[in-house]
Amino acid sequence: MHISILLVSLLGMGFIAAVFGFVVLNSGPRDEDFGGIAKRGYFIRLWWFIGLCAAGVLVSVWSLIPFPLQASSAESPRIIQAVGRQWSWELASNSVETGEPVRFRVTSQDVNHGFAIYGPDDKIVAQTQAMPGYFNDLDVTFEHAGKYRVLCLEYCGVAHHAMVAEIAVTEKH
């Protein structure tokens, strides 16, 4: 997913760069008929606007239904309390089985922290914020066994980068 996001972004930015490049390369010679250029430009702009709106509606519907942050449909996920504090994580359990629905109930005892689960490939699997006074429920079902890490992704002071915990995910018996 991560690389796909990068590629889609680069594609979009490449398109914009190409349009700018085309116009800069065609900035001369001067055409005194700006009225004519504007007329054609407004026509393109109208379809550009319609296209962007249409794309927005499609992407919004595709990405928001069902609502991505709603609780998992698992009837009784295993709940693991996760408490952040400067500068460590306290997890009620550090071991999980693959395929087991888990709900991390995340909070903080002091400042804001970011509870981000990194997979064995060092890519983010999921995340939520750890806030004082609030519990954020993060539902995760680990698909692959291995060593996962929890890193803090909300800047929280001088040892922010060292705030790490581990989760061992084993194959389901």
């Binding site: 116009v23 010679p29 001067r30 550009w48 990405s63 429920d137 800047y155 002071g157 980068h161």
Partner: protein, 491 residues
């Protein structure tokens, strides 16, 4: 200029010196803070440089607060300069804003370098009060007080701008062009885009700074009376509303340079129209409504706010892509434009702004935010906006004012160096984000360090490009007769 405009305009002799001060100080600070940014990336690369974590986070706070504040002031100079052609502004108030800002800067820099304050420019509550011995309560109060003073300085000049606009146009809504948009008045082609943009900036940024002042005062009270502890989620909402609105107002102030100068180069007019006014009204509303896209990972927020954040995040990019970027390109196409430092910087700024929308909008999707939030993807997209958007607008403006465009090929080479370094730096951030490299980490794991080195080298190239553009400007600035570019009469 018409007779009416002359009657309202601030005399040129009064405008020039203060604008020069803003630009001169701004360019020097930008260069210094770029060096800080490059050093931070080098420290993350761990090959060329090592920094102790406490020093890194102090520099990070300095870079963030300094860049946001300086960009805000430089964009204000662009806005004030061009607005003063249409309304009578008070240069003494503009100077007072600068002086107050310098006091604020001294407080902020002192709190960081002497007091070791390092809670990032976002001062996310309640971190300023939880230093665990890294900084004192006094240092935190000085930093927060500095930001508050900066806000007061902005409100001071906004008050003058607001009064002047109302004196000439009757109301802020009329300056924004609402009667024309809704058909109560015919479209007046002489109504300046600068006035429309200024009205928008006034509306959103007065609201943004007012909210910022509230959250800063609440943070100060919490520092003095720890028992007085506001709700953390409420504070987060207020901080991100303030931060988002302020930095957006900076972009929408600086873009006035494009509206005013590019038509001179292209020798074609950039006139208001109903779609133009509709776009600016939409932007006014969306800039105020979009901030929840910063809080998508706060699941305690109501779901409707997350949905609104995603949708408005996408929608707020449309006016830029459809009106400003497209309008600028239409102006340039087959215009026979003369390419020099100023004109190429202004077109680069439109590209940087438009291109930055893509990764920003994608990160604004909840699905994507789950894996990209607070990675280096975020500085990736906002460096497109700021380094390749706002800064080229300011540099293009300065270059235009000093007739620096006359330097010809050297100026174009400088812009090419700047654009190359800037693009590489932004891409290094985006690639880092795609590899899940966290933002705001003083120490990077070995597998991430090569990206820090690429970032540091790119930052070095940006700094060289900036100096190549800025040094000739700074040399000419004291004697420059503003707006004497020799590129022809106004379109």
């Amino acid at each position: 200029m018409t007779t009416t405009e002359l009657r309202y305009a601030t005399p040129e002799a009064q405008r020039a010196p203060v604008v020069k001060l803003y630009l001169g100080i701004g360019l020097l600070v930008f260069a210094g803070l770029m060096l800080v940014g490059a050093l931070m990336r080098a420290a993350q690369g761990a090959t060329m440089l090592t920094l102790a974590p406490d020093v890194f986070y102090q520099l990070m706070t300095l870079h963030g607060a300094g860049m946001v504040g300086t960009a805000g002031l430089a964009a204000l100079a662009v806005n004030w300069y061009f607005l003063s052609q249409h309304v009578q502004l008070n240069p003494k108030i503009f100077l007072a804003t600068l002086l107050l800002s310098l006091v604020a800067v001294a407080m902020i820099v002192g709190s960081i370098l002497i007091g070791h304050f390092a809670a990032a420019w976002t001062f996310l509550y309640p971190l300023p009060a939880f230093s665990l011995g890294q900084w004192s309560k006094g240092a935190a109060l000085t930093f927060v007080g500095g930001l508050l003073l900066l806000g007061v300085a902005f409100l001071l000049v906004y008050l003058d701008m607001g009064v002047a606009i109302v004196r000439r146009y009757g109301s802020i809504a009329r300056a924004l062009g609402l009667p024309m948009l809704f058909g109560r008045e015919p479209i007046d082609a002489t109504h300046s885009p600068t006035v429309v943009a200024s009205a928008m900036v006034l509306i959103v940024n007065v609201a943004g700074i007012a909210v910022g002042a509230i959250v800063l005062i609440m943070t100060m009270l919490h520092l003095i009376y720890p028992a007085l502890a506001p709700d953390a989620l409420l504070m987060k909402n207020l901080i991100f509303f303030f931060g988002h609105v302020f930095i957006n107002a900076t972009i929408y102030s600086a873009v006035i340079a494009v509206y005013e100068i590019l038509p001179l180069y292209a020798r074609r007019p950039w006139r208001v129209s109903r779609p133009f006014l509709a776009a600016w009204l939409a932007v006014t509303l969306m800039v105020l409504a979009v901030y929840p896209h910063h809080l998508l990972m706060d699941f305690a927020m109501p779901p409707w706010m997350a949905i609104m954040g995603q949708i408005v995040s996408y929608a707020s990019g449309i006016p830029v892509l459809v009106m400003t970027a497209f309008g600028g390109l239409m102006l340039v196409y087959r215009s026979g434009i003369r390419w020099d430092a100023a004109s190429s910087l202004l077109v680069l700024s439109l590209f940087g702004w438009a291109a930055g929308i893509i990764p920003a909008v994608i990160d604004g999707m909840i699905h994507v935010n789950l894996v990209m939030h607070n990675t280096l993807w975020v500085p990736g997209h906002f460096h497109f906006y700021l380094l390749l958007g706002v800064l080229p607008m300011v540099l293009g403006f300065a270059s235009y004012l000093c007739a620096n465009g006359q330097q010809g090929r050297t100026g174009l080479v400088a812009v090419a160096v700047y654009a190359t370094g800037g693009t590489l730096l932004c891409l290094s951030f985006l690639v880092s984000g795609a590899l899940s490299v966290p933002r705001r980490f003083a120490v990077h794991e070995e597998s991430w360090q090569w990206l820090g080195n690429v970032g540091a080298l790119s930052g070095g190239i940006v700094l060289i490009g900036t100096l190549m553009i800025a040094v000739p400007i700074l040399q000419k600035l004291p004697r420059a007769r503003l707006a004497s570019t020799g590129i022809g009469a106004r379109a």
